[in-house]
Symmetry: C2
Subunit: 340 residues, 2 copies
């Protein structure tokens, strides 16, 4: 095993210093700032090994060392001391949430809070529909052949969608459709609805079949396909901290990526329960984000996850602090949702 404890300690020191100063760190500065108990020459030898193993690298011959993605990875996996939130941060979280009025408000406040605390770009996914339940479905006639379908969920989200019917629909028929649909679907988890929608069509009287099929199609789209799509973003201005240097020259690719909802959803989606995921540089599948790191986690009332949230910043990031903050905010948001 080539990496003994001291070498790991050296790596940690390098990461910490580099994150703090943004400058390649040399052996001499290292022994001055940390109590390693050995001379700079020894540290140099250790550094040579760390470099050989791919954890650090030199920007140029005879410059200090800089952590590689692999170095950050090792740091995050094995060297992170959990950093408790400062009381000030705790208070900020508490204070940020007083007087929320509705779900939109909660999500927007959360994303701003997260951006502000981590001083990074923050993303918060709206509570996913598929894990929440239908509270009520409403059908409103817009014209003779068009209905507006409005779905209200128990997490407080409202989704609407226009339905083009095959022919004119009488008010009484609308009333009947509304009744049947609510009877079958109200109170159900969205994830459980597709077979129920199918049943609705099957059980429908033949003369109404056409209408019901139309409605069912849109229902399925609303219930399933659109269910994950909304999210909120904040803190893009934080990308400019420290010049453009942290992102190898241009913010452009990063800004482009941040505009694509699909990409953002990938970043904070697919979460396993109770874990915080850290993706460092090249570990991101999206090319535009090869010089960025993403820290994300799931949130939800109790143990279930109904959405994700996360933070994006340069690979040169304060991982322990960011991870702690992301977790704390996720927990707080979960609690808030549980109260409703």
């Amino acid at each position: 095993m080539s990496l003994d404890d001291r070498k790991l300690e050296v790596l940690r020191a390098i990461v910490e210093d580099y994150v703090k100063t943004r400058e390649p760190v040399g052996s001499k500065a290292l022994v001055e700032r940390h109590q390693l108990g050995v001379s700079s020459a020894t540290v140099r030898n250790d550094m040579a090994v760390l470099e050989e193993e791919g954890y650090i690298r030199q920007p140029h011959t005879s410059a200090g060392r800089v952590p590689t993605d692999a170095g950050y990875r090792l740091f995050v996996d094995r060297l992170t001391r959990i950093k408790p939130l400062s009381p000030a941060e705790r208070r900020a979280i508490e204070r940020f949430m007083v007087g929320v009025v509705d779900l939109d408000d909660v999500v927007h406040r959360t994303v701003r809070l997260l951006a502000q605390l981590t001083r990074q770009v923050a993303v918060v996914q709206y509570p996913s529909l598929s894990r929440s339940a239908v509270r009520h479905l409403e059908l409103v006639p817009i014209s003779t052949t068009r209905l507006m379908l409005v779905m209200i969920t128990d997490t407080g989200r409202v989704e609407q969608r226009l339905v083009e019917m095959p022919g004119p629909v009488a008010d009484g028929d609308v009333w009947e459709l509304r009744r049947r649909v609510n009877e079958k679907l109200a109170g159900q988890k969205l994830a459980d609805t597709p077979p129920l929608v199918q049943k609705l069509v099957d059980e429908c009287a033949p003369e109404r079949r056409g209408d019901m099929v139309c409605l069912a199609t849109v229902l399925l789209e609303t219930l399933v396909e659109r269910s994950e799509e909304r999210l909120a973003l904040a803190g893009t201005a934080n990308l400019t901290r420290g010049g453009v240097l942290d992102f190898q020259g241009t913010l452009r690719p990063v800004l482009e990526a941040l505009e694509e909802e699909v990409i953002l959803l990938k970043l904070i989606g697919d979460l396993e329960p109770r874990t915080t995921r850290v993706r460092i540089g090249d570990e991101n599948e999206i090319d535009n984000l090869r010089s960025a790191s993403v820290v994300s986690t799931g949130y939800g009332p109790g143990a279930t996850i109904v959405g994700g949230l996360g933070v994006l910043g340069p690979t040169r990031m304060d991982y322990p602090g960011t991870i702690a903050t992301v977790r704390a905010v996720a927990r707080y948001l979960g609690d808030l949702l549980a109260q409703n």
Copy 2:
């Protein structure tokens, strides 16, 4: 009158060249590239006058000239030749809009289209509620003392809001409330509703007064206060075109401003009908945007304005092209809304 035609022509040439090349333009290059019919010495004299009047300036002694905000202003007001859209652009607009599904979709597509065509940051305000009409109001019981109020407008927007009632409300009462509210408000322009809401309360039977007051409060909030607030943004990545140079060093203030909905609404709000507003550099009231220009206009079905849209970019911007595109997109969006 100190500015004769030729001096104006020189100013136009300077603006056009500077926008194209991003480099201070000198007298010699100017006579080479434009048919001014005079020598560079003459142009130099004209430039001296233009500089004295504050329309252009020199970054350093003995460098070329650069337009000032006032110079751009004059250019926009008096020197802009209207530039028709290219056929390619026309086609792009047409193609971009096929297969829209709902209002959200329309707005998002529009904002992307605008960002893409102008290659700048685009902002589109959702159709304002206050100028649209109530299609339907829905009340959904959430718990015994809580109702969800859902409002659907004829522009296809849906707004929801939670109503805390003073005491338990029976289903029949909800039904009755819904009937009365719709009777009075459906079909009305939102701007006309406040007195009608008051009437609703006045005409209400005393035993239901308490419920109605609660509902009326939330109704007014929903109808009036929240009515202007939503918008969509796209193209932030375009800020990075041409390095960070166009924004005197940092994008930071601009990105910060773009995150504030209030600021964005100010940018594209308060529009007069049938005009395109151009705010150049210092003319923007927001300090963060002193190095930016905003081109905005209103849109709506027919002659009424139901919302604004616009574009933000560096003061060094292709004004004629941008103005033409903004107008065209606004007109197209208006037509689209008129069709519904």
